[in-house]
């Protein structure tokens, strides 16, 4: 019987709070961008929306306990790290494609680089709360 991973306890609660704020900020920003000036930079604004979805997903997955939630959180944090590195790099070398700031532009510069640090903290926290068998005997041999 595996022990369900508990990501929403202790320091994890602080992590969820920060994620929730970013989920709110990214969702509102993407919402406004898409509603008012989507045609200006559709790709950038769609990526903005993707970032928002990932923050929302990570927030809810981290706030729940259980192996499925843990896996979703892991995927969300991994995609988030990949996203902030990719968009961050693209926004520096191909600034024409990103005329307006998104959460991940220049590695989240407009947000004090928290978008860059957050997925790393998330992944570290997920490693610490990784699902593991309750006692060593349950561990499959070989």
């Amino acid at each position: 019987m595996a022990q369900p991973p508990k990501t929403a306890t202790g320091p994890g609660r602080v992590l969820v709070a920060v994620y929730a704020i970013f989920a709110l900020a990214a969702t509102s920003r993407a919402g406004v961008q898409i509603a008012t000036k989507f045609h200006e930079a559709p790709v950038a604004y769609l990526l903005s929306a993707l970032a928002a979805v990932i923050y929302v997903l990570a927030t809810f997955a981290l706030a729940r306990s259980g192996e499925t939630a843990w896996r979703i959180a892991l995927a969300a944090c991994a995609v988030e790290l990949l996203g902030v590195l990719t968009i961050g790099t693209l926004s520096i070398f191909d600034s024409a494609a990103f005329p307006q700031a998104t959460v991940w532009s220049v590695y989240g510069q407009g947000y004090l680089f928290i978008p860059l640090v957050l997925p790393v903290l998330g992944l570290l926290w997920l490693r610490r709360t990784a699902p593991r068998p309750q006692n060593p005997i349950d561990r499959p041999v070989g």
């Binding site: 202790g10 320091p11 994890g12 609660r13 969820v16 709070a17 704020i21 709110l24 406004v32 008012t36």
Partner: protein, 121 residues
């Protein structure tokens, strides 16, 4: 927007945040006094909403009305939601969660001020 009032909110929220982090560092659960301070900040935010709506009705216009209203109303939700989340499991982390939510307030009020002064998003 009354700039002085916005600065007051920012100052109060920053003080509440610092207080939260100090308490958390000293391994304390959220105290009644701290929760009172958060309630006071929330009250200031409600007053800010009233001032904001009165100014709108009076004919003044921000850079974008939708964004302005979103910030004006949105910043009212942060502290209550954060407090519920913080108090669901009482520990030093709860106090840190309150600090994080307090930090979000000055950011939102500063953005609100930018929108009021003509920024569109």
């Amino acid at each position: 927007m009354i700039t002085g009032f916005a600065i007051t909110i920012v100052a109060c929220a920053v003080l509440a945040a610092v207080w939260s982090f100090v308490l958390s560092a000293r391994n304390r659960e959220p105290s009644k006094a701290l929760l009172g301070a958060l309630a006071a900040v929330e009250l200031l935010l409600v007053v800010q909403l009233i001032i904001g709506v009165v100014l709108l009705v009076g004919g003044e216009r921000p850079g974008s009305i939708a964004t302005y209203l979103a910030y004006l109303i949105g910043c009212l939700l942060v502290l209550p939601v954060g407090t519920v989340w913080a108090l669901a499991e009482r520990s030093r982390s709860s106090t840190a969660v309150l600090g994080i939510t307090c930090v979000a307030i000055p950011v939102m009020v500063l953005r609100l001020n930018e929108v009021w002064n003509g920024a569109t998003a």
